[in-house]
Point group: C2
Chain length 363, copies 2
């Protein structure tokens, strides 16, 4: 008998590269940048950046200067843009790694002018309707011709591109075109992330910024996902138990057995990034004769364990030490995020950073 | 002008030690163990274990063997118990670091007998009503006298101890006493985590296991929190903007300005562990004349940014580069978890693991 206690996270770099290649085709003739901020959405920025650099990607986006410094050794000749921009606390990363700040405000432009880095031309972010970071038109009007010539790219970001027919898409496109025409007629431009790629060539300009879709998330949910799932998460069964009718399960006794049941205790929980909102809602997959059996989660997800109902599985088909699947091609990051009441972006961001997984890259 | 872009997480080790000392007093004459699983609930197991070891703690609990190996150098003479038990994938950690498995099942006991480690006496977990890990009475009846003598501790776990009057507390206490009397009359026993400490001496037995309350969480919410908040999270304002009436904010345009407003864009998001469920519900705190101003989050929390309403703040009181508070003594981990629809345990577990914070320990 072999027992295991540790959950295993598989990250398929080949499929990330395949997703990138497909999105790159859809983006052409625009160039395709890879967004590896937030540690590549938790999946490991160094490994992902190295994979995509080897596949020919030469534009990368991160959120923070510290993130840019981490990927620089893996993307030596690439342009690395930093979306949160530059500040006193990140200046050294920009200097050491030759990073390109995305300037979001007049204050940040003033800071940049005080701390220019030789050979670096920043990008400028402009407001088109997300009302997050970016220069308003009234602020752009204050820029001198020399200021405007400072920038290598003009950038904005769509707010509703995951809904093909949303009125905001046309509104933001028009505002972006007007800003570009008026202030930056000769400057390369980038508007779309993954979801914008699917809105068509009008939205691509010179560069698309590929993040979520590259990681397998369906960013165009109005049609079936064209991306490959890149994540598998499995956790070992620590114990198989009988649950007599009337017994309660888990914290706060939120589940009561309506009849005699059998349960499996699976060694993963919210401490591993599995959302606690899967309590009494999610499932664990076991395979019987090659068919997936979706076993409902009973009671609260706890920090280290999930309890699921295996009553429908033949007793001889599951043993201590076997693995249950929490994410795979039959139950993707979008599926589990939907059951958890969130989006796959947040799910994988929390999942991937956990140090206690056995993390395996498939190359 | 000084700009910043990076969120800052302060973890107060002095207050963790003070919380431990108070819980230790409440536990006496039982000994008080520190639960540092899940990287000390995300706060850093090595730093927390070193602090508590210096304070005299000699019993530690982790979930996984790998976690035990991380704290061993910081707690050289301590007993380190591993709650998920032992398996093929963790055996080397037990051997190298002298860890003590908590055996949860007959299968795991059989595994232990095949892989005994010299000088280590495991603990046994018994089922009393949580219906998670642990031997059922029918399984205990199969143990020989020699099997029973193998164990250094008998352990169980309460399911509803955060509700003082919950019927499960008395039920689990009675079951635990019966099991101990029948199978382990002379073996030291441990039943209670933080929440059980507040249920009184009957629940303490020989050892309490202090986790959540030590990290400042109110585990006895039927009365005011006696613990000190140990976490502060602040993030810099990247930009201050005018938001004209009728404009939308954030992804999916879920907020529309009912009048002209002013907003601050704060450099933290769900990529930093801030729950996305705070969208249109949470707040950012700024201070004006020493008074906290709770500024509502507008629209969706995104991966790297939060947008909040600062219309009520005098314009001269807030500038780019100032910091907004996301967690502090005025808005604790319990407060933010309540607003996010989860529990502080899950919140801090996701928060603390983020590599892109500037993480500062207050010693």
């Amino acid at each position: 008998m072999v027992l295991y206690t540790t959950p295993v996270l598989n990250i398929n770099l080949k499929k990330i590269a395949a997703n990138y290649a497909l999105l790159q085709q859809l983006s052409a003739p625009a160039a395709a940048a890879a967004v590896v901020k937030d540690d590549a959405y938790g999946l490991g920025a160094a490994a992902v950046a190295a994979t995509l650099y080897a596949a020919g990607c030469r534009h990368f986006f991160v959120a923070h200067g510290s993130e840019g410094a981490i990927i620089r050794p893996h993307a030596p000749q690439a342009e690395i843009y930093v979306l949160q921009g530059i500040g006193e606390d990140s200046l050294e990363y920009f200097q050491a790694a030759g990073l390109i700040p995305v300037i979001c405000s007049p204050d940040m432009l003033a800071f940049w002018k005080q701390h220019r880095i030789s050979g670096i031309r920043p990008a400028i972010q402009v407001e088109t309707g997300l009302n997050r970071l970016g220069f308003a038109v009234s602020e752009l009007e204050q820029l001198s011709a020399a200021d405007r010539a400072e920038f290598s790219y003009v950038l904005s970001h769509l707010s509703c591109a995951d809904e093909q027919a949303h009125f905001m898409n046309a509104r933001q496109l028009e505002r972006f075109r007007n800003i570009k025409r008026r202030f930056f007629p000769d400057t390369p431009a980038t508007l779309s992330a993954s979801d914008g790629v699917f809105l068509g060539n009008d939205f691509h300009f010179d560069l698309t910024r590929l993040g979520a879709a590259m990681y397998g998330i369906n960013t165009a949910p109005y049609r079936e996902n064209q991306m490959q799932n890149v994540i598998e998460l499995k956790a070992p069964v620590l114990q198989i138990k009988s649950l007599p009718k009337g017994e309660f399960v888990g914290y706060s006794a939120t589940f009561r057995a309506p009849h005699d049941m059998r349960t499996a205790i699976v060694s993963a929980g919210y401490g591993d990034g599995m959302p606690r909102s899967l309590s009494n809602r999610g499932k664990v997959i076991f395979y019987h004769n090659g068919q997936p059996c979706f076993c409902p989660i009973l009671g609260r997800v706890s920090m280290d364990n999930i309890i699921c109902d295996i009553t429908s599985l033949p007793p001889e088909s599951l043993h201590t030490g076997d693995f249950g699947w929490l994410i795979n091609d039959d139950y993707t990051v979008d599926d589990i995020a939907r059951d958890a009441g969130t989006i796959a972006y947040e799910l994988i961001s929390n999942l991937g950073k956990n140090p206690r997984f056995i993390k395996q890259y498939i190359r």
